[in-house]
Symmetry: C2
Subunit: 427 residues, 2 copies
């Protein structure tokens, strides 16, 4: 790929050195010895990463705003109040012992891309036709606090601020207290963009299998997420007769098995999972009285998702019967499948093609902050390959040349929006 | 029962008021608003409870020794170095959000029973023929640190001190550090008894169903306990194709279901359980890479236990295949079934009958510190009813009249040993 990048007609507009340096610097905050990343949202490490980003924004003349849920906005208000605003970025938080590219790449590539556009505006003497905002969303991952996409969901009105601030982690600490602890409990009115462009690593292996280096996500899968508690009766695992046991963990175990079997009935169009299970009191010689399962059903097809949701209810009933327990749904989040903005996809495709890289059109199954954003303004997610499709794991890796390619295409897209204004379809 | 207790020929030898007051005082340390008890071993609450017991022992002229694993011994060395020693007590630690009778009753009734015996020795002017030790064993419950019966197992040589001190809780704190933190890292040589008598609540409903108020445990079930880790591959729950997932929690779920089905193949003679499950990273949108199950198989019949153990291995293989994961055994503890001392059982039966209460002979399925003790000296566990058989639950309750009856029979048994010496069969 270096050939195209170094071609005189398509010189890299970003500085590869600066982008790699930014990423290396950010890895200091939560990077693990095995090359992974442990930067839970609103942790001390996240606070340090945010401080680093904030310092960068100030140094580069962006005005920094923090809203009520701690989303960080670095604003370049150079085109005047009547010009549209283009937002770009992603999230700095990671999964527990996750990877260092997921999220951070999108934020730092946005920093470098905006810098590159500013340099080009100066060099070519054009009048910018849009303002820019670099964003770092709070709690994209949903690992420490649920649900995921917390910051962008509050921003887009999918969730109330009060609800989000009251969410608690496994130790009972609220989002509000965690924001306060790291100094990111803001109250600034957030900027409102007319377009949103997010760069991310693929978290899948489709690009790699196709031997391609760049893609745009044209559609996101729908998802139904449940937090479901099985309620049994805490008792001694020794003397309590088997026939009298009401084992909450047994109920959850039946459901875990049934949900896997359910996915196998709709191969390729239904993903199911139980990623988190909280067992109480979780003592080796106590029959569990409560087991809380965090469940996901995902599909690109609304009909399949509705069918799976109905089957899920039947699986829960069967698990209750098998373990002589009851259950209650404590939280449900339904996110319909939907498209991203066709005009922004087309623009990215032109820019990639100009560099000699055909763009692949992809679905995303993972949630991205662009999913709630798409409800508010034309949005798109651009992706580069993740080696082996590995994501949410310390071995997550994207090759430097792909990191640079993605950052460069992002900068070219932003440059086009800056020079030409927003495309008609997305005005 | 008050009739027999108040009968002039069988006056209560203990002070009911003093025993109830001791139990009420001890409930301050970890008692929960719903009448339960949360006093994890070596916690701050356990430290306070130990301090309270230690102060009581000092006030009552017992010399206090703390051994290397933090077991507390209150010694009444009044019969001389050639006389045998009778040990009595239980444990002050509780399950997480457990009950207030399990364990604490045995320690405090021992305190009061020894006090009552001393008063009677003074009144009747007899020469005591044995010394007494009141004991509080460290970590009977096995909730915070595994395995259970930690203090008594070190004491009896079933486990090395170094191994026990190195055990860590869910937060990585070692037993050694926890002992240090509450000031119970001792190094005194422990006293060695020639008989061990433990009073406990039943943790079962057999006495209640038979409308009886007192029992002795004549046999303990055997147990095999495993800590088994399923090892999969951490991945994103969204995009990772179902066919590629190696879900450690799915493996554990298959095993939980299979172990329950296994118990149903040997009704009444096999108890199986998974009480604790540790899922890593335990994030809602990450396929679990590791799931550690804490498994118990219990039976009174060695052949059934051996059969269950072989079937367990087959269940693990099947779970591995179903979830495409591997597994490894991280800990195993095998405790054979065995009898308690017949002469001590007979002595308790005589004393109960003298009060008008027929004694019921019971098995215990729960572990008790008397199980390892039985390997070292004649031992017995005496029990009074637990309402509804409830144990390891805040609703655990023993009626005051049964509390007093049990304490009184314990005092009468100790009195007989004191006056008459140890029975021939247990010398």
């Amino acid at each position: 790929m270096a050939n195209a990048m170094l071609d005189s007609t398509a010189t890299t507009v970003i500085s590869a050195q600066r982008l790699i340096a930014l990423m290396t610097a950010m890895e200091r905050y939560g990077g693990t010895p095995n090359g992974g990343m442990h930067r839970l949202t609103l942790s001390a490490e996240d606070g340090q990463a945010r401080d680093h980003l904030s310092a960068w924004m100030h140094e580069h003349g962006l005005s920094v705003r923090i809203d009520g849920i701690g989303n960080m906005f670095g604003i370049l208000d150079w085109a005047g109040p009547d010009a549209p605003t283009v937002m770009t970025g992603s999230h700095l938080d990671s999964q527990p012992r996750g990877g260092r590219f997921d999220g951070a790449y999108g934020v730092l590539a946005a920093c470098e891309a905006v810098t590159a556009v500013r340099a080009r505006v100066a060099t070519e003497g054009v009048v910018p036709r849009c303002n820019f905002v670099v964003v770092n969303w709070t709690n994209e991952e949903g690992a420490r606090f649920q649900p995921s996409l917390l910051g962008s969901s509050v921003y887009t009105g999918q969730m109330t601020l009060a609800d989000a601030l009251g969410r608690r982690d496994g130790e009972g600490i609220s989002v509000a207290d965690a924001l306060q602890a790291i100094g990111y409990a803001g109250n600034a009115p957030p900027p409102i963009p007319q377009a949103y462009v997010e760069l991310h690593v693929e978290c899948g292996a489709e690009l790699e299998r196709a031997d391609q280096h760049f893609g745009a996500i044209v559609r996101h899968w729908g998802a139904v997420k449940y937090r479901l508690a099985f309620l049994g009766r805490q008792a001694h695992t020794g003397p309590t007769p088997m026939a009298q046991r009401q084992d909450a963990l047994l109920g959850a175990a039946h459901l875990v098995c049934a949900l896997r079997a359910l996915a196998d009935r709709a191969p390729g169009t239904l993903h199911t999972s139980v990623g988190r299970l909280e067992v109480r009191p979780n003592s080796p010689n106590v029959v569990p009285g409560e087991a809380v399962a965090f469940i996901e059903l995902r599909s690109p097809d609304a009909a399949v998702l509705a069918w799976a949701d109905a089957e899920f209810a039947a699986c829960v009933r069967a698990a209750e019967t098998a373990a002589k327990v009851t259950s209650e749904i404590r939280f449900v989040d339904r996110r319909p499948a939907g498209p991203f903005d066709a005009a922004l996809v087309a623009l990215a495709e032109q820019e990639a093609a100009g560099l000699g890289y055909p763009m692949r059109r992809l679905d995303t199954i993972a949630g991205h902050d662009a999913v709630p954003m798409a409800l508010r303004c034309p949005s798109v997610v651009l992706v580069v390959p993740s080696v082996g499709g590995i994501c949410h794991h310390p071995a997550e890796f994207t090759k430097p040349e792909d990191i640079i390619l993605g950052g460069d295409i992002l900068a070219r897209v932003l440059w086009r929006l800056c020079r030409d204004g927003l495309p008609g379809g997305t005005a």
